[in-house]
Amino acid sequence: MSQAIVNTVRQFLEEYIRVEKFENDENIFAKKYVNSLFAMQLILFIEKSFGIKVENEDLDIDNFSSVNAITDFVSSKSTV
């Protein structure tokens, strides 16, 4: 798992999430740290920062639920 991706994603989330601390494997949607509007912004951020396109079939909440999930998703998209 690329630490660079983790750092970029965390930096973006930290700006947004209003809790003092959150773990890389914490489900940010289930814990209600973020709402569905944020999901739109997150996807725009991912597309722009990592130069990938999130497709219809990628719209699975599991791909975006935590720092680790987002990192895995970005890594998998970057290698295809």
């Binding site: 973006f12 700006e15 947004y16 709402n35 569905s36 739109m40 725009l44 719209l59 909440i61």
Partner: protein, 373 residues
Amino acid sequence: MKNKQLLESLSAYSKEVLIPQAGEYDACQAVPQSVVAELAKMGVFGANVDTEYGGQALNAFEIGKVSELLGYASGSLLSLFTVHSMMTFALQRWGSDWQKDRWLTPLAAGNLIGAFAVSEPEVGSDVNGLLTEFTLEDDCIVVNGSKQWISFAQTADVFFVAGKLNGAPATLVVERDTPGLEITPISNMYGFRAGMLGKLTFNHCKVPKAHMLGQNPLILAQIVGSVLDHGRFTIAWGALGLSNACVDASIHYTKTRYQFGEPLYQHQLIQQMLTNMLVATRSSRLMCMDAASARDESDADMIIKTAAAKYCSAENALKTANDAAQIHGANGLSDQFPVERYLRDAKVFGIIEGSVQMLQMMIASQGNQWISH
């Protein structure tokens, strides 16, 4: 170059035809087919579509300008462009290759007209509660339910429809001639009277599975959310156009109408209204430009900047139209002047694509992160 030509042609056509005739469209509650054909010829219906599908691939500022020109002429024309481009946006962003071939290319050419069907008789702001049901049956999706207040339902060929499949949000495309789809016109709206609204009733309406645009919990946020975000952007610019029309009408009127031996504009309380109108219109423009530049950069904050621009522009359009009607006195409330139509149309901006209250909640919850500095 091609884009500049589209904007120039639309601007000229608007001055010659749309602005002078908009009152008639409003009175007859219809946009003539000849206008739709002319807009299609100019490329307006493919404004936001990639050239690969025959569109114009305009950038956000140019899409804003198209919306502003249409909004200046008529709220109803703006709504035609808005709902059609929401459909093309949805297909381009989220559609399959098959869907793009089938609908996006003819939509971009204006050979088909698209509409956006989310609201229901019982569901407006709270889109999580949609009651329209999609059920899987062999290779088809069966649609049951109804959609209310659908702009251009009276003439549209294809509908973007949101509902629920197995309890999860889903979106699909329904063609007008699908058996089981009944379309009932809605007339006599207060504003956007030429918006050709209708109610769609789906009675065991079967569409092929290939018409699905997606299904899972993120669909509402992503597909419906991104389509609404596109609509908010065009409405923001269109409301700016309406504010500008109010300013222009009022400046002209205050120079030609005399009371107490002087043109109205010499009176200081009239100047106060003109000042408020000018400053409000300028602030709408700056907010719209801010949203456009975020969109052209694909910045994550484009969503909230667009919501803020739409909120600002809609509120300013209503205030500006209210002042314009005041400045025109009794004339402003008669059908001999366009300002009474501006006032009615301006009221609609506060209801559609996220009502004033919905946007206030969105901006209050996120504005701090995204737009306070």
